[in-house]
């Protein structure tokens, strides 16, 4: 019959429309503005309204989510910041849009480079959030952030300096617990290997 297919489509649309109310009714208040509600709306068997009501609700981001790099520092006993960065420059070399600028510190007396950055800039207007800097950093010093709400009214100040970029290790382990744990294990293994290698007279210095 002509028109049957068309009507069945309309019925499909109507069914979805009704289902949104049925789902809301069935799940009650918990469907919106709660963590479980958001989780239930992201499952593969979800029916009804799908939308997350940003900014009242926010999707939890997965651990691998990447948005703008930051520099990890370890906190010393009396609160001093010890940046992991050694200013080796690999992140600046691997950066596809070349948005990282690093000034290396030189020892004022000998003129030899010291493994800590004097200045570290990232132009966040140019950064494409590819995550290559974090991926290839040999010291786990630069990592990708989870904070994506950085809108501002002007471009000024969008070149982030070392102050703005530094975040504590506890922050990093908080947003990326699995990665952090894996890195810690790798680090301990490496140190154990180093210690084992040091026992014979000639220590082999790696990187």
């Amino acid at each position: 019959m002509t028109g049957k297919g068309f009507l069945s489509m309309l019925f499909g649309v109507f069914k979805r429309f009704v289902m949104t109310y049925v789902e809301d009714f069935r799940k009650g208040k918990d469907r919106y503005y709660t963590a479980e509600g958001i989780e239930s709306r992201r499952k593969a068997d979800v029916d009804g309204i799908f939308t997350i009501q940003y900014p009242e609700e926010k999707l939890p981001v997965p651990e691998e989510f990447r948005f703008l790099p930051f520099l990890v520092y370890e906190e010393g006993e009396n609160g001093e910041k010890d940046l992991r960065c050694t200013s080796c420059g690999i992140c600046a070399k691997v950066c596809p849009p070349q948005c990282i600028w690093i000034v290396r510190t030189n020892d004022p007396v000998t003129g030899k480079p010291i493994p800590e950055p004097k200045e570290f800039y990232i132009d966040v207007d140019i950064c494409m959030n590819c995550g290559l800097c974090a991926e290839y950093c040999p010291f786990d010093a630069i990592k990708m952030d989870h904070d994506y709400e950085i809108a501002s009214y002007t471009r000024e100040g969008n070149i982030y300096g070392i102050e703005r970029l530094s975040k504590p290790l506890s922050y990093y382990s908080g947003i990326r617990p699995t990665n952090f744990a894996a890195e810690e294990i790798a680090r301990q293994e490496k140190e154990a290997m180093k210690a084992a290698a040091k026992k014979p007279a000639a220590p082999v210095e790696g990187a």
Partner: protein, 579 residues
């Protein structure tokens, strides 16, 4: 692949033919044949008519500045399958003139225009050799190696100014004019009128005029900003009443010279840039680029990485096709509600991409010799849930809602017909080609990765109209689902990377062409390496761009209202068209 089989699809040594007009390319790392410009037409005609190389896939140029040579590279295929026959024509750089293949292959049309535009190679005999990606007043040919852009800093990345004495600052302060526009000398933007634009309108007006009745055609511009053109895209159409008698797409509004950026980048740096080509299916773009570079490096990813790659590529394909159904509905006038249905399905897949790669659309997940990271915990279960339950069910829903719908059938059946001959000649690929009755799928015709071990059918439909394009995509999505079910079942444990991850890969000198069956068609990457950290030439054979050549054939003779539908059914993404 494993046992030695004699296939029809082997590349013959054509240097033994043609009375010495063709010689083998003997440069180390190179393959294919070199032919003189004066013999090109004869050789290609014979290859097409006698040797069965009926599909001209890619035409591009390479600027060998140190040798003072300009090389035009042709990739010819047989639609029955098999590897490429690569032809090259070398001409002096200063007077780069090559005969046009327009009369033999219409797929050369836009590609030769692109080579003219970006490299300044003049194709003799091309009837419409205008610039295509840059604007008519553009100064110079940007892919020539001696051309410098407005913000030129250095020939290749990484730039020396970044480390160890990082000179931070806004990029535009490097430019003395604080302006990123270059004009040819003597150019005045206020009085300048584009000659090419004039010519385009003149040729549109010429067609269909009846001198006796003094009737005229109406020239209509659809776009560049138009709600029904999937992006910034313009069509100049001449109408006789409601009928389209002439239609020329105008592209390039989103042009950013991806290839020049690619040649500045190191190999790895370019990976995230490929995401920006077809931003709906970035994983497939990664795949093609990784294949091309791996071919040059001579490495093979481990088994698990291959499975992950195929899984991501097929999820992308499924998602892309469902997305295209949403757009089909949209173009038919059912505004945005069904589109949102399609987006819902896409969201769930993007969740997986985000969990795996860290980004929903700009995935940047593939690396040379593997993938960036292993699947995080729980992702595989999520994929299983989707591919065994939700995805097949949703496809059935879409099938039920669209395939028998009278409005869809009346609008789509018989609309925008592309015959098999036309589709092959126009270089159409992907679902556009297979909907016209040509069972050509690179996953079968020239298998890569693990596709030769997977069980799936090449979808083909025979009417070549919009409805068959839709059916092809629908069936293909089902096949993608089938592949995914096998992949999640069989995925082995193991490493995900061959060798150590390195931020500077060593790529030996040579050339390679890696191609994949992307959701939109054949996506090819042509790379020339000189052994340096950056590619000497990086060319993208983008399916959307070349599929658009067929748009004129689809629309001519049809109604103006169907133009929108035809454009939607070609399934383009402007990020890839304009590059």
């Amino acid at each position: 692949m494993s046992e030695e089989q004699v296939t029809v699809a082997q590349v013959p040594d054509i240097s033994l033919q043609f009375d010495g007009k063709v010689t083998t390319d003997t440069r180390p790392g190179y393959s294919g044949f070199i032919v003189g410009a004066e013999n090109l037409l004869e050789v290609v005609k014979s290859l097409r008519d006698e040797w069965g190389f009926d599909y001209l896939s890619s035409v591009t140029g390479v600027d060998y500045l140190p040798e003072g040579k300009m090389e035009v590279v042709y990739h010819l295929y047989r639609t029955i399958g098999g590897p490429a026959l690569v032809l090259k024509v070398q001409v002096p750089r200063d007077e780069a003139v090559v005969p046009s293949l327009y009369d033999l292959f219409k797929s050369a049309d836009w590609q030769e225009r692109e080579a003219w535009d970006l490299l300044g190679i003049h194709f003799e005999g091309h009837p419409d050799l205008r610039r295509i990606l840059t604007w008519e007043g553009f100064a110079g040919h940007p892919l020539r190696k001696d051309w410098k852009e407005a913000y030129f800093e250095e020939e290749t990345k990484p730039y020396k100014s970044r480390w160890p004495e990082g000179q931070t600052g806004y990029i535009e302060s490097n430019n003395p004019f604080h302006d990123n526009v270059q004009y040819p000398s003597g150019f005045d933007p206020d009085t300048w009128i584009s000659a090419a634009e004039e010519a385009l309108y003149a040729s549109a007006k010429k067609i269909g005029r009846d001198e006796e009745l003094h009737t005229d055609t109406v020239v209509v511009n659809l776009g560049p900003q138009h709600p029904s053109t999937h992006g910034v895209f313009r069509m100049v159409a001449a109408l006789d009443g409601e009928q389209v008698v002439f239609l020329k797409p105008v592209v390039g509004y989103l042009h950013r010279n991806h290839e020049k950026i690619g040649e500045r980048n190191t190999y790895l740096q370019n990976m995230p840039f490929t995401d920006r080509l077809d931003y709906v299916s970035s994983m497939s773009n990664n795949f093609g680029y990784a294949l091309a570079v791996e071919k040059l490096m001579g490495i093979q990813p481990p088994e698990r990485a291959e499975y992950i790659r195929v899984m991501m590529a097929e999820l992308t394909r499924w998602m892309n096709h469902v997305f295209s159904f949403g757009f089909l509905w949209n173009d038919l006038g059912s505004y945005f509600t069904p589109m949102i249905y399609a987006l819902e399905e896409r969201e769930l897949i993007l969740d997986i991409f985000e969990a795996v790669s860290g980004s929903r659309m700009m995935c940047n997940y593939f690396r040379f010799g593997g993938v960036a990271r292993d699947l995080p915990a729980g992702v595989l279960d999520k994929v299983k849930e989707l591919v065994f339950e939700r995805m097949p069910r949703r496809l059935d829903d879409i099938d039920k809602m669209l395939s028998t719908n009278e409005i869809v059938r009346n609008r789509c059946i018989g609309c925008g017909v592309l015959t098999a001959e036309m589709a092959i000649n126009n270089g159409a690929s992907g679902p556009n080609l297979r909907a016209s009755g040509v069972p050509y799928d690179i996953r079968r015709a020239d298998p890569y990765s693990i596709y030769d071990r997977l069980d799936f059918d090449v979808v083909v439909h025979y009417h070549g109209d919009v409805f068959d394009r839709y059916l092809t995509r629908l069936d293909e999505a089902r096949q993608a689902n089938r592949i995914l079910q096998q992949v999640v079942r069989d995925i082995p444990e193991g490493p995900i990377m061959t060798g150590k991850p390195a931020y500077q890969v060593r790529v030996p000198a040579g050339e390679s062409y890696g191609r994949v069956e992307a959701p939109k068609g054949e996506l090819g990457f042509y790379i020339v390496s000189t052994g340096k950290p950056n590619p000497w030439r990086y060319h993208v054979r983008s399916p959307s761009f070349i599929n658009l050549i067929s748009l004129e054939d689809m629309c001519r003779g049809g109604k103006i209202a169907d133009v929108v539908l035809n454009l939607g059914a070609v399934d383009i993404v402007l990020g890839e068209v304009d590059r």
